[in-house]
């Protein structure tokens, strides 16, 4: 029986909700601290601490540092804790100043100048990426799924067929057009990056017809390389499967509005060291 705790920093609680859906742990492990569902003033010492959310306020910083001192293993859960996630889009230079100027308050915890992944502050033993990680991934992290075998990339788990003779000439918007059943989204002209995003999510976006937006981050083959290697890999896939002009793809991939790299912006913006793949589930 594992004693574990969940510390939520600035985030959306989606990770916590996913954990609640993995209810198989409820009678096997002892959840000792998780303010979303348990009233407790203090976190008792635990074997494993799951941390979700980014470090956005001075209170996040304080709570994180305090909690890791009472924890055996520290697991960063979800894209906010690992790589900044969607909230770090607020750190783009053009909007950051606007946001910070209006968010000034007198009596509440102060905002830090930027939102940080937790490994910028504390040592992390394991990463559980996803926005949010699925219940199955949570169970795997808790050691409940000894036979868990994720696909290397989302493509392997998707089941849509790649067709040789269906080569789109232009990208179509995420929301445009009727998605055809059973056929690869790239064949249909969608900017899907499931070909290099790490598997384990069971392709839960692409199967019903939404392009992969890369929330699990790069696959093992790319995770220890410079972030540009991920972009290059996507370009190679599109060059071999489509007739979409290189400049059109380039513009979409590097769009200033981050149409694609919603979840890894902090990594790109700050040029951080890659994470070792053996630590990433």
């Amino acid at each position: 029986m594992l004693r574990f705790a969940v510390l939520q920093l600035s985030g959306c609680a989606g990770c916590e909700v996913a954990l609640l859906n993995a209810e198989a742990w409820a009678h096997r492990h002892h959840l000792v601290y998780m303010p979303l569902v348990i009233s407790a003033y203090e976190m008792a010492p635990v074997d494993m601490l799951l941390v979700s959310g980014g470090v956005r306020t001075d209170e996040d910083l304080h709570n994180l540092r305090r909690a890791v001192r009472r924890a055996g293993q520290v697991v960063a859960v979800g894209t906010c804790a690992i790589s900044g996630g969607v909230p770090s889009l607020g750190d783009r230079d053009d909007v950051r100043a606007l946001f910070l100027a209006q968010a000034e308050r007198r009596r509440v915890p102060r905002l830090l100048p930027r939102c940080h992944p937790i490994d910028a502050v504390v040592e992390v033993d394991r990463y559980l990426p996803g926005c949010p990680p699925t219940p199955e991934l949570f169970l795997a992290a808790l050691g409940e799924e000894p036979d868990f075998q994720p696909g290397k990339v989302v493509c392997q788990e998707c089941g849509r067929k790649k067709l040789k003779d269906m080569r789109p000439r232009h990208l179509i918007g995420f929301q445009q057009g009727q998605v055809k059943l059973g056929i690869c989204l790239i064949n249909q002209g969608y900017l899907c990056i499931g070909s290099s995003t790490r598997g384990g999510c069971r392709a839960l976006c692409t199967r019903p017809g939404h392009p992969c937006v890369g929330c699990r981050g790069p696959s093992d083959a790319l995770i220890e390389k410079h972030p540009d290697a991920w972009l290059e890999s996507i370009k190679r896939v599109f060059a071999s499967m489509t007739d979409i002009p290189a400049d059109e793809l380039e513009a979409a991939l590097h769009s200033p509005h981050l149409a694609l790299f919603l979840f890894q912006f902090a990594d790109y913006a700050t040029g951080r060291q890659p994470r070792p793949k053996e630590k990433v589930l």
């Binding site: 909230p87 509440v108 017809g209």
Partner: protein, 437 residues
């Protein structure tokens, strides 16, 4: 002048209650939201068509409501309307959200208050005579799970769903999948009723112990739900007066003319008001407006509720009982929809993106939610999120003041105050991640 600070748990997000006392008088009671991520800024410059992927991340508990509201806002801006099958699939999405939320609020957040425990994972074995010993936690999680499974079916994934798109949905529901889901809901319904019966009785016991259902005075009620029966995909917000008479109704694009909004220095969430007065949204507002639920079991519970408390009902602990009525309704209503054809028709209409302004309204579990976008060159140039918890903030603070006054005298502060603070806040089921966004 002492200041009492109460950290909050078993609510969504980070907040605390701070009460200032002078002698035997409660000077102020504030709900302080202590987190913010800045979504109105995060989305600036994002391609408008991509907004439905980003804004669910405002909140993992309420992501479905944000997903649908954002798509409706874009449809408003582009001047299109989704086909009937897409509306049925979206109703399933919103019902799944309601099941998940009401089960979470009732059984995980507030049932422990009624059974004197710190959490649902920590209950005494025989806590509830209606529910077989030792099974309450797993049953509560199973009911909640029925809601999240329904969201997965209709929305692709149960947190941050992806299947609602501008003009409709990406797909219908195959008949086998609909039948399998129906079986799950049919299993969950009796469990939900057992748990709610337990909750109902424990709530009356609580009322006996503390001597009140909540002392606060009546006020305005705000909801975008239907008046003949619930409808969470609403297009109009209605306001009831404290006497229960309809005072106002307006479409989402007129919200600024009807609802005031103020930022405050002690919280990252501001508060909104109706003509300067506090208002209440969420389950009690909807039940006060509903003529009937329109499904048999939920109507039985509604009749029981009306016989005990009348219409409109005002005490704030009744919010929790109203959630139970809605939980039963959502399970029944979802089964009705699953029995209808959910594939083989058009699921999407084409659209041409254009610049302009769009407003999207849904009745989220906590009340009317509006997404308001201005689009320039295909990019989001301005975003406003009008959040149900923010509608409730003034009412929460007023109710906290009244509760605090009950437990604070010149001589002493009754330790029951801390529990009362938790009960008052949780009755409104605030979502701080949404409120601050």
């Amino acid at each position: 002048m002492p200041t009492l600070t109460f950290p909050l748990s078993r609510i969504e997000g980070h907040a605390r209650v701070v009460i200032d006392v002078h002698g035997d008088e409660v000077v102020s009671a504030h709900l302080e939201a202590t987190e913010i991520r800045g979504f109105e800024y995060i989305v600036l410059g994002v391609p408008a068509e991509q907004i439905a992927v980003i804004v669910p991340r405002i909140c993992g508990v309420c992501s479905t409501a944000h997903h649908v509201a954002s798509v409706k806002a874009l449809e408003d801006a582009f001047g299109i309307a989704p086909p009937p099958l897409a509306l049925r699939v979206r109703e399933l999405l919103l019902l799944g959200q309601l099941i998940q939320n009401q089960a979470t609020s009732l059984f995980i957040f507030t049932l422990p208050d009624r059974l004197n425990s710190a959490s649902i994972f920590d209950l005494e074995a025989a806590a509830c005579p209606q529910v077989a010993e030792g099974t309450l936690t797993l049953r509560a999680l199973q009911v909640r799970r029925a809601g999240t499974d329904l969201i997965t079916l209709a929305g692709g994934q149960f947190i941050h769903p992806i299947k609602a798109v501008i003009g409709g949905v990406t797909g219908g529901v195959a008949i086998e999948a609909a039948q399998a889901m129906d079986r799950k809901l049919a299993e969950a319904l009796p469990l939900a009723r057992e748990l709610f019966d337990c909750y109902w009785q424990a709530s009356f016991a609580l009322r006996e112990r503390i001597g009140t259902w909540g002392d606060d005075a009546p006020t305005y009620y705000l909801a975008a739900s239907g008046d003949t029966r619930p409808n969470y995909d609403g297009n109009e917000i209605r306001v009831l007066g404290p006497d229960g008479a309809l005072r106002d109704s307006f479409p989402p694009h007129q919200y600024q003319a009807h609802l005031g909004f103020e930022q405050v220095d002690y919280s990252y969430a501001g508060h909104s008001n109706y003509r300067g007065e506090p208002m209440r949204a969420n389950s009690l507002a909807r039940i006060n407006m509903a003529r009937q639920m329109g499904t048999p079991l939920a109507d039985d519970y509604l009749a029981r509720f009306r016989a005990a408390f009348g219409q409109p009902a005002h005490p704030i602990l009744l919010y929790d009982l109203c959630r139970g009525i809605e939980l039963v309704y959502a399970l029944e209503r979802a089964r009705e929809i699953l029995a209808q054809p959910l594939e083989g028709e058009e699921v999407q209409v084409p659209y041409t993106p254009r610049d302009g302004e769009g407003f999207g309204l849904v009745e989220a579990p906590r009340g009317p939610l509006i997404h308001h976008y201005r689009i320039e060159n295909g990019l989001i140039a301005q975003a406003r999120f009008v959040i149900p918890t923010v509608h409730n903030t003034l009412a929460i603070e007023r109710a906290l003041r009244v509760a605090a006054q009950r437990y604070i005298t010149g001589e002493r502060i009754d330790m029951e105050l801390e529990r009362a603070v938790g009960r008052v806040v949780r009755a409104f089921d605030p979502c701080i991640a949404c409120a601050t966004h």
